[in-house]
């Protein structure tokens, strides 16, 4: 069908889409390119080198960044695991618990961290820990991240679970499985793609978080985003671009895994 007669096609929309992609990717590509810049300055290009990557691992700031990276990953893994487990249980109750009075309220509570602006959550969490006299540090970040990540883990799990008809559990129970067995042997394996997506999303959200971490981290404890932010405040340096590029690679790896997991529907 030609563009003239096809009611679906609009002139210029394709161009805008390509522009959109350019806008989305140009900054990332530019930063990746410049992370391989041999120059000490960020403005001039002096040829390809891995200098700044080396600098990240052995340079003067390497200890700080290594510790920050370790903190970030440990927090992200633990917070994502906890929030995924909590979200899986909650989704089971919401999707398979029938109608009940607290259902809407529970859904509202679970999605609360999505509705409250992040900076407000950050302020509130800081005030809370302060008022109960809890010293800020690693643990406060972990707890805040776990709570904040629950809705992110929850959404893909709920979506997946709604797509699974309850006849599967019923068939299992009809074949003499108890409710627990039906959950473990039938429902859980079928929910797995949703659980993996939920975990990855929670992981990325935790790894990404700057604002809440910045408020509740306390002195001395840094995660990658807070360390990068602190460094950028002093001025843009090429080693930040190298770190950014590595984090970029992690993110893209995650999203690719998540894409293939969501595509590999184990019911087919």
């Amino acid at each position: 069908m030609s563009a003239k007669t096809d009611v679906k096609t609009f002139f210029g929309f394709k161009g805008i889409t390509l522009l959109c992609l350019v806008i989305l990717y140009a900054p990332l590509i530019v930063v990746t390119l410049y992370s391989f810049n041999a120059s000490k300055s960020i403005t001039v290009w002096e040829g390809l080198s891995f200098h700044w990557y080396l600098d990240v691992f052995v340079g003067p700031e390497s200890a700080k960044f290594k510790q920050a990276a370790l903190n970030s990953f440990v927090i992200a893994i633990v917070a994502a695991t906890l929030s995924t487990a909590i979200a899986t249980a909650a989704a089971t109750a919401i999707v398979r618990g029938g109608k009940f009075r607290l259902r809407t309220a529970s859904l509202g509570l679970i999605s609360l961290p999505l509705m409250v602006p992040e900076i407000v959550t950050a302020v509130a969490t800081l005030i809370f820990f302060n008022s109960i006299g809890f010293t800020r540090g690693f643990l406060t970040i972990l707890v805040a991240h776990t709570a904040f990540c629950i809705p992110f883990a929850y959404l893909p799990i709920q979506a997946r679970m709604q797509g699974i008809e309850d006849t599967y559990e019923q068939a299992a129970m009809d074949l003499y499985a108890t409710k627990t067995q039906a959950f473990r042997r039938v429902l859980l394996p079928l929910m797995m793609p949703g659980i993996v997506s939920g975990f990855l999303l929670a992981f990325i959200v935790s790894l990404d978080d700057f604002i809440i971490t910045n408020f509740v981290k306390g002195a001395g404890v840094e995660t990658l985003p807070t360390a990068i932010f602190g460094s950028v405040k002093q001025g843009l340096k090429p080693n930040i671009m190298a770190i950014s590029t590595m984090l970029l690679a992690v993110s893209i790896m995650m999203v690719t895994i998540s894409y293939f997991v969501s595509k590999s529907d184990n019911t087919k």
Binding site: P27, G97, L107, I110, P117, P225, S244
Partner: protein, 308 residues
Amino acid sequence: MAGGAASGGSAASDTYAKARHWLLLPSWVVVGIFVLAPVLMMMVYSFLTKEFRGGVIWEFSLSAYDQFFFDRGLFGDEPAKIDWTYIAIFWRSIWQAGAATILSLLIGFPTAYFIATRPEKNRAIWVFLITIPYWVNLLIRTVSMKFLLRDQGPLNDFLVNIGLIDTPLHIINTNLAVQLGLFYSYLPFMVLPIYASVERYNFALSEAAADLYATKWVTLRRILLPAVKPGVIAGCILVFVPSLGAFLAPDLLGGAKNFMIGSLIEEQFKGNAGNWPFGAAISMILLTMVLTILLIYARQQRQAEDLS
């Protein structure tokens, strides 16, 4: 990151009805103690008296709100006068977030539409392309933007080299930079809901309109747009709400002159110079605004659902 409450779908299945309260308990405890209780605590703090060196004195006071709205204070000696300093910051935030939303809509709608009209097997890959940047650390994206937009940055280099401009454009530390940064931060939130509603749209309706002598643009305006309006509204809310309280884009791209709510709040908790009750009060005002928007949206959604 804002989003309406997840609906949870229809509740027909009740296989695990007996265990539901136990299954929900962990989420109640964790979200209740570490999100809901802190927000309530913050509300309490906004009515307390500030202590120098950060923190509060447990004494009821309206001075935080007073400071926000009035010069010298409503309860000061002189006649109260409205102080526009903070209101102006709020106003600027709304304006910046609104501009970013419109920018996102202008780019996001055609993009979403284009993707939704691709052959079905290609759509997933387009959506994937649009969502990848969302998965990249927001801080890194903002830093990248800062790097790209600098006076001596790659964008200016490029524009000068191809001869489009003679002298580098000054973008960084302007309102435009902040708008671009916000737009860049939340663009996928605009594209995805619009995409979802266009994909659900039945193009036979457009053909029927064309058959009745409507031009393409009239068809778009009169037939398609009303049908995909819920997606457009959802997209606008998903961009506007997080932009309103954004911290990174205004802080890194806007510089000191282009202060937004996020930075104002952050400042109240930094070091000893801060004012915790005031910070809590600003947060409360922001939260009230956001919840009002979400509430109006939710109510309209419900009405639309009741109609259909």
